[in-house]
Symmetry: C2
Subunit: 559 residues, 2 copies
């Protein structure tokens, strides 16, 4: 429970780029040309700003860390007309408001019930982590081998006062913090987001989350209300946990048709244009779209750039707010080449990070001139799920409402996880090292994907089972042509799906039934699908597993 009081973040030297401590979109553009929005530009900006001073429970926000360029853009639209009564009713924490007084020199606080760091029974944390560019990979050793080794990093209790360069320590990380997250990690997240997404409006901000699952629930509670009969749209086949999150809140979910690039803007427009509350069981015209643009779960579909632009424009036309869930964004892969005869062997360390960034399909956030996107980012798929640290990016208004809820719902992510993530992605790797880690990781996933696709080509009955090689993520969506089933006329798709699933279990493979992912659970499925992942099983196991799946399908179809 938080009784946190806080002074704001300070810098040891005055910044000359005018981006520290601004609020409400106020801008002071320095006279010098701003640093470019590159890894090197961020380094230069940090050097100018001086050491980050952010003691226990410091208040911070992204405006302290954004580039001056950000302020040259127009501000986001306001979303008061979409917010739920619950969200509108949230007030700032009274104890946190009192924190403004802590700035007064010499003031002694008997206010906040923050335990003293002297009573924290953890004196030091250490972590051994692999280093860029090769991350200790045995298949791509450097000539010296030195830069590929692992590094031991250490966090002491009072580093910020005892070590000249330290900006974060256990006395801060182990105490209460702000629900928006620590200034230290929020700085990195803000810089990274600007580097990757460059939101085209001025007042965007980030907030740390306890992972995208919880952030999605918060976002749904922020925009939807049971008593208003609110509803949302999503892909026809959608992430089951997202559906399970919406249902108990009384939020109706409707599915949008998909092709190999995922959600179809034409279908989206058709649904919204012809909305009939009565025909939709009393549901109000949807005001929110939940979408996973890259490596969609469960279909593995990835929206191309034009597809994203068309989706965004359709949402603008109908004033729909977008929840862009992108856990797999950085797992965009090179196209699959069936004839290649083996996994892709190019060394990601030979590419530049700029080329990597430029090769990524632009995010919806990067197209978001209205500020109508809340983007959910996650470390789960690309660093570790167990950190329970992610972040959202949206307009100042939306992030402020998000934080007001987080103060009651989570108090932000674990400080232990925050300080370790900061040590990893900021102090040790830096932006370039992190991007190099992502480059390496997508290579890993591409290799795994290729192994799975090779197994599918070898073991699945052509003409009955089809698939589109995924361009991102960790899932392959297998489409089984149920019309060829000998009992197609007497059995439902669900019955055939169940029989194949049971037969798979008998033969020793678990694949997810497509019907589990239907956005509209009460409607019969549009086809017969199975979701398989190439994330977890070993390469040898993937081959055996697909062989078993193929045998189950053959048996069911009598072929």
């Amino acid at each position: 429970m938080s009784r946190t009081f806080s002074t704001g973040v300070q810098r040891s030297e005055p910044s000359n780029v005018g981006n520290v401590g601004l609020a409400d979109g106020e801008t002071i553009i320095g006279e010098q040309a701003p640093e470019p929005l590159t890894v090197e530009g961020i380094k230069a900006r940090r050097a100018k700003a001086g050491k980050l001073i952010a003691p226990t429970a410091s208040y911070s926000d992204s405006d302290m860390f954004k580039s001056p360029q950000a302020y040259e853009k127009p501000k986001a639209r306001r979303w008061d007309h979409l917010l739920s009564p619950e969200s509108i009713a949230r007030k700032p924490c009274v104890l946190k408001l009192a924190a403004k007084h802590l700035k007064k020199p010499g003031l002694i606080s008997l206010g906040g019930g923050l335990p003293s760091a002297e009573n924290f029974p953890i004196d030091e944390l250490s972590m051994r982590i692999p280093q860029p560019p090769h991350f200790g990979s045995s298949t791509s050793a450097t000539p010296s081998g030195a830069s590929s080794g692992s590094q031991e990093v250490t966090i002491g209790k009072h580093d910020t006062t005892e070590k000249e360069d330290a900006v974060y320590d256990l006395s801060i990380a182990l105490n209460y913090g702000q629900s928006i997250g620590s200034a230290q990690l929020l700085r990195w997240v803000t810089e990274h987001t600007e580097l990757v997404c460059r939101p085209p409006y001025a007042d965007w901000r980030c907030a740390l989350t306890i992972g995208s699952t919880g952030a999605l629930e918060s976002a749904l509670r922020m925009f939807c209300d049971r008593a208003r009969n609110d509803s949302i749209l999503t892909e026809e086949y959608s992430f089951s946990t997202a559906l399970e999150t919406a249902a108990p809140l009384g939020i109706k979910v409707f599915g949008v048709r998909m092709d190999e690039q995922g959600l179809l803007p034409g279908s989206l427009d058709e649904i919204l244009s012809g909305w009939d509350e009565k025909a939709r069981g009393g549901a109000r015209k949807p005001t929110v779209l939940y979408t996973v643009p890259s490596g969609q779960n469960p279909t593995g579909a990835t929206q191309g750039e034009q597809r994203r632009r068309d989706i965004y424009e359709t949402c603008r036309r109908h004033d729909v707010f977008i929840l862009e869930d992108e856990p797999y964004y950085f797992l965009q892969m090179p196209p699959y080449k069936p004839a290649a005869g083996g996994p892709n062997t190019s060394d990601p360390a030979e590419q530049t990070v700029d080329a990597f960034l430029q090769g990524l399909i632009p995010s919806l956030l990067s197209m978001d001139i209205d500020g109508r996107v809340l983007r959910l980012d996650s470390f789960s798929k690309v660093v570790v799920p167990g950190s329970r640290v992610g972040w959202v990016t949206a307009s100042e208004q939306v992030v402020e409402r998000y934080i007001r809820h987080a103060e009651c719902a989570s108090q932000g992510p674990s400080g232990i996880a925050q300080v370790l993530m900061h040590k990893l992605v900021d102090e040790s790797w830096g932006h370039e090292g992190y991007l190099r880690w992502l480059m390496r990781l997508r290579g890993e996933y591409a290799r795994r994907r290729d192994v799975l696709l090779g197994a599918c080509e070898r073991h699945l009955p052509a003409g009955v089972v089809g698939w589109v090689p995924p361009a991102a993520g960790m899932f392959l969506w297998l489409s089984v042509d149920h019309t060829q089933h000998p009992e197609a006329s007497s059995k439902s798709i669900l019955e055939i799906e169940e029989a194949i699933f049971d037969s798979c279990i008998d033969k020793g493979v678990l694949a997810c039934r497509g019907s589990w992912f239907r956005a509209e659970q009460e409607r019969p499925p549009s086809g017969l699908f199975f979701r398989v992942t190439f994330a977890a099983a070993s390469e040898g196991d993937m081959d055996v597993a697909i062989e078993r799946f193929g045998a189950a399908v053959r048996e069911s179809f009598g072929i």
Copy 2:
């Protein structure tokens, strides 16, 4: 986002105490006498049960870790009539249900999208922690000094397969887990809770939380519904964040009168017996009591044993469910002796842990024959707030509903925090070491309390400012007799309070205004109060701060 699949927890050897893997209250009582509910008894039970085998995302529950004695009691009542429509509507995660198939030998899963531990860029974590019984305290060094030093503990990626005794490692902790928490930490929490609280019904269970703040919001959503006009009761002055959590959910909060032992059962009964929906603005008769029995925030009041029994009986009579929030439970202190002339110098290491446990006021959970209590426990005040790890204890039905929500709201606490907490309180300290830590800590807080109280005696105007020495927690509630104020007839309590608060800030001390904590914000305060804490400021600062506070009061009262 979780796509976790899991097999259940296994033991390397069959248990002979019959407490493994039982469900629905099924009991198998072994022929041998069960181990006693003591620290040594738990050790013996663990030794019999064999090594805990709980790989990535294992399902577990408290029934696997409770003593056989627990099952000899009757089961809890059911709370279907109190649960909210939102809670009732929750269904198990479809992907997690599929996990049951993973028990099949030889099955290969292409189901859950769990990343492979090989791609986790943390190879090892280490932590330096102080050791019992003296925890490195310089004021109470042992003759050898060795046992008081700090210890370095290390967690590798594959300890459970590489080290004979290891039950938890980074490959498990850094991946997705179950929302109830890891089996490893859930075991410790279950054992600790039974040791301390011994719930008097059979089917109690624990679940890890992301801290009591989030757990409280979940509990409120579980039992209260806006559309039903649900309301809750709490102390007249209550934890402001709890009030801020309830308000946006449309839950009306009503205050119960208090004395120096906190909430008055007579007032509780009076309110409930005479409930008039119309007079209460349409609010339904309260079905939930939120209370902080020990060291209540903000008043510092501690309910004695009989008080707790009376409160429990009153809640039974009116079928009210109890949320028992106990962050300060273990900070119960010896009585304050003003004449002692200095801080208490007894060495906590000389007491036994049994004596410590027996000296604690029994919890509401320990009296809970109906299973109508959800107890919230927290590491925040007694280990570190930054772990964001706590736990709840309640009946199987209530915990199951809690977990269903946690699957969407949080996915449970950070695995990084869980593995470090496990290493600290289980592997390194064990139950006895943890209790010794609590004994040491309450000594620390007692010393700080005594310093603050001494300062109050020295610096505050007797007859105008009064207080009750707190018997637990970290707060002192200062009562200012506003009737003696020269402008008492022309100024409201709120106006005088504000003037004193502002004057305090001017003089350099921050104390919390009592009115911030009113359960019913729209009602005028019943008195003029300030909350001060002895948790954070140094002893010297506390003296200066209270002197300043006294000056502000004197100035305002013209004395």
